[in-house]
Symmetry: C2
Subunit: 156 residues, 2 copies
DNA sequence: ATTGAAATATGTTCGTA
DNA sequence: TACGAACATATTTCAAT
């Protein structure tokens, strides 16, 4: 599976198709076909091409975490004792379901993670009893997201 | 549209269905039905219920930004002069397509944004010519994501 | 790359349990 | 809730352009 690096060519029709499907992955291809005025078979073929190109990374159902009581989102900057602990620390973070993202970053911290918790108490438990317990973690800095105003993908 | 807040009840069958669809939004319901051993009509009905409950927020095609040459992701903490500038600043950030997320946060900054750029040069331009130009923005702190190790949704 | 048509598979509704 | 049957749509392939 070769991942085309930065040179996938898409035209306006590809963009139209993708814009529909980025908004609703289950939108029928034939419906899109009617909207943009080409045949379903053509769209089918274009999607196969886009998938092979590596631009299409898949599709997802999106859940609303608030409906399950998860109302507290936060970013946590993690200081590690030594760079050597990094891969182990990431492995430990993978085991924590509240950790949704994990980035190696430039700047102050070794690692920046995004976490999702039910409430502040849950967040406190996560920080003190889970994340701080990981070997190599010396200190953390937490930024609670009071409100997310923008959440989107790359624009076409 | 009432958004159930933290008390949506789902059982093991709901979870199984959602886990399939969170991984592949276009997986046929009938295929899932065969896997978990109930009828397609039952799944259809459960999905309608889950949608009404507010847990299902929709579905998306996921693109791989690297395929379009977007290889530099970063988090940018933004200091604002006065709290009053916040809504205006967010409006301005919405107009910048490279800004994918925007959070009001506790801690050092007023706002934390996630941005996606083609390269470091593009990031520099974004910071100096777009974000810093927004009225009320006094200073920014940038953390480049060298590598994203985890990227997932809430676990069921 | 695109089309229409054919074959297969799926989505959706409804009566019933 | 769940089922199956019936009907409406959609997906997928293919020969032809």
């Amino acid at each position: 599976m070769k991942a085309n690096k930065g040179n996938v060519q898409i035209d306006g029709i590809d963009k139209k198709i993708l814009r529909y499907l980025m908004e609703d992955a289950r939108k029928p291809i034939l419906e899109i076909a009617r909207h943009i005025g080409i045949s379903g078979a053509a769209i089918h073929q274009r999607l196969r091409k886009l998938e092979k190109s590596g631009l299409l990374a898949g599709s997802k159902f999106v859940l609303n975490p608030k409906a399950l009581g998860y109302t507290t989102m936060a970013y946590v900057g993690i200081f590690l004792d030594k760079a050597m602990s990094n891969p182990q620390a990431v492995k430990a973070l993978e085991q924590i379901p509240e950790v949704l993202e994990c980035h190696y970053t430039t700047g102050n911290w070794s690692i920046l993670v995004k976490v999702l918790c039910k409430d502040n108490e849950h967040l406190m438990f996560l920080l003190n009893k889970k994340i701080q317990q990981i070997e190599g973690v010396s200190r953390t800095e937490t930024f609670i997201s009071l409100d997310q105003q923008i959440d989107r993908q790359i624009a076409l």
